[in-house]
Symmetry: C2
Subunit: 428 residues, 2 copies
């Protein structure tokens, strides 16, 4: 149901982006549809340059799609109703639940309020700090718009930028390297974790989910930043171009954080080493947090997969983390989610290698980038034909609504094989 | 323990292949070691041409390594003891169990006898039939040796050939297209299935394992043959070179069957389409049967993964196939096996892309070929430096001893984190 609303938003967005008022040069409906899909699914893959192809009106439309897509349509609807003081019907709660994976109706209302507060505060602070960078460079009006656009895009992990080479121009700017990663980490950690942290301010009292999410994010960040730095240190196409060690570390920090789902870049992704690209593929498949703006299988899924594997080989009967046990039902869910994700990614690569003769790694990178709603590309996006755009568009959509939704959708369509024979019960 | 014996066999084999009597031209120890590893693990990747680089003595040594590696060292030792009428100690039974995943000691002795019978009969019939092809072409002596070598290599799914382009010369020979696939299917289905089939001759009475294995093999065969034919039909480097439709179908049939683990080829693997190569990667990871000469995660693992995923999305509490339920313990094992396999493959690709600047797909293909002990290559094997040979060698070894063995080995090495505090019990 939520998927249908996302679909409607994409179509409306594509219609708006097709209007002459939105574009500076004639744009095909295919371009507009792909851009709208990319914006609503907060992916950031683009077939045209956002900064030059669209007018201020078009860019604002994209930003609204990002915000609506990022928060989740129903969350947003409930937010508005809640702010206006209107009663929220049960049906809305049900949609919300679907979108945020929450179980308690009471907690939902609280969560929605937290979302609104966190989103507004973060995006405002982010934009205010980015003013320091963009106003001196572009003047007040353009600088203000750049600040708002990149703050919203970063918080929603959308990866859309108004520059054709993303944030490469500010690769060594300390403000950009602090504000953008700060925004995308908060947006990507998941609203349930933020809500949990705002209620229980000490580590001990956090839920197991929050603990796994926070420590998993920390481990993945250290790992990705370190490996990126090691592999790219002397690559003349990336870190090798910066003689200063602090600059190399800043760029590694930025790219290590942004790759899992945000999709900004400060180095040319087409120039990274094949090994780095492979690590990026893995990071993009993992993604960030549940109930966040991120795609991928999610950090918690990845951690539970690893814990379940270790527990099996250590012959433990029970799976536990941070003193709490993880049920077998959870493990089955994780297994199913991972399998259907691998299936979607493999099918996507399979279909796209049929229709495109590009470099295999670039195509794998493109498909996983779409699945993780990341938006990084090694140059394939611009070369996609209609078939390729449809494939990548569908994968972005699946990445946003979640592979679990796809799985349940497919399962519903398969009629049950066994139909029990009808039988009469004689009474009296 | 078994792993140590495999290792010893590889080292002895490398020593034998280093002897002047084994080679026609000076061969480095690195070449000999890689060849011995490839032979004992029945992979078939080769850095030198088996047919011209080794003397008849060297080729015979390779064939013995294939036979010992294929049957499993301990199975073979028990076989000899059993044939000689010597009592088989319990420790041997234990090794056997580890190698064949059987649980009943009684069934083991029966299984061992079945193995001996099946191996001898199959390899003799195979060699006899191949005489029809090789004797008219090479004369009696060379024809006889070619027949024996390729029969044993095929039955053990070793993929070693005495021709530099594998069996391409006989791509359209109906005898080769029947005998070689026949041998490798029987060798790859798993001895437990063969034993089950010889005891219970009707489908209904077969075990669930046999039913899953047989139907899974049938489905994978139909799928791989059909997709190969469709994707390669007009590729001038493969099927496109054969105008005859029956020839195209013969080659598709052969390649569809040989890719999962045998590793022979009748088309140039370097010329297949990227999409076909991706399908081959998946087939090589899946492999063939447990308790067989095959590598990979095994067909049954793959089927249980799919069944578990479908069951989750259909919200079934129980997992079942052919009227029998599959326990959660089995699902956990399958999950752990798949995860450690993905880990080994990813780590292998990661390490090999650091040390080699080759085409990414070719390197992925090489690593999965080693992991599935398949032996197909897109030309990377010959270009491997020492680091690359070590990586591929280790992966072949893991592929043969099984990723589960690796998992338990690693788990044993990790000291338990929680050590319960010592406590005294006061009695009386
Ligand atoms: K993104
Ligand atoms: K093989």
């Amino acid at each position: 149901m939520l998927s249908v609303l996302y679909l409607a938003l994409i179509l409306i967005g594509a219609g708006v982006l097709s209007l002459p008022i939105s574009v500076t040069t004639p744009t095909t409906f295919s371009d507009a549809l792909f851009t709208a899909t990319s914006a609503v699914t907060v992916t950031g893959l683009s077939v045209v340059d956002t900064g030059t192809n669209f007018t201020l009106f078009g860019q604002a439309a994209i930003l609204i799609m990002i915000q609506l897509g990022g928060l989740g349509l129903m969350t947003f609807a409930a937010l508005v109703l809640s702010v206006l003081g209107l009663p929220i019907g049960l049906s809305h709660h049900t949609y919300l639940r679907e979108d945020l994976s929450q179980t308690s109706l009471d907690r939902l209302v609280g969560l929605v309020k937290t979302i609104l507060r966190v989103v507004l505060i973060c995006e405002l602070i982010g934009a205010a700090l980015l003013l320091l960078v963009f106003v001196p460079e572009f003047g007040l009006i353009k600088g203000l718009w750049f600040s708002v656009f990149h703050s919203v895009s970063a918080f929603n992990n959308a990866g859309f930028s108004l520059m054709p080479d993303s944030l490469t121009h500010w690769a060594t700017n300390p403000v950009v390297n602090l504000v953008i990663p700060g925004l995308l980490v908060i947006g990507g950690i998941g609203f349930s974790v933020i809500s949990d942290m705002s209620q229980h301010r000490t580590w001990q009292r956090l839920s197991m989910h929050s603990k796994i999410m926070l420590s998993g994010t920390a481990i993945l960040t250290i790992w990705s930043v370190a490996v990126f730095a090691i592999l790219e240190w002397n690559n003349p196409g990336t870190l090798g171009a910066y003689p200063n060690i602090f600059d190399k570390l800043q760029i590694s920090w930025f790219q290590g954080l942004t790759t899992r789902t945000a999709g900004f870049n400060t180095v040319d992704i087409g120039s990274i080493h094949d090994t780095t690209a492979l690590m990026f593929v893995l990071l993009m498949v993992i993604g960030a947090g549940s109930t966040s703006t991120a795609g991928g299988i999610k950090v918690t899924t990845f951690i539970v997969l690893i814990l379940a594997t270790i527990a099996f080989f250590k012959r433990h009967n029970q799976l536990h983390a941070f003193g709490r046990s993880i049920g077998l039902e959870e493990v089955m869910k994780v297994l199913a989610l991972t399998m259907i994700s691998i299936f979607v990614i493999m099918l996507g690569i399979f279909l796209i290698t049929i229709s495109h003769d590009g470099d295999f790694l670039d195509l794998v990178f493109e498909v996983t980038s779409a699945f993780g709603t990341v938006g990084l590309s090694r140059g394939t996006t611009g070369e996609l034909d209609t078939a390729g755009r449809i494939i990548i568009g569908v994968i972005m959509f699946i990445g946003r609504v979640g592979p679990l939704t796809l799985g349940f959708f497919l399962a519903r369509r398969i009629p049950p094989r066994i139909s029990y024979p009808a039988s009469q019960v004689y009474l009296g």
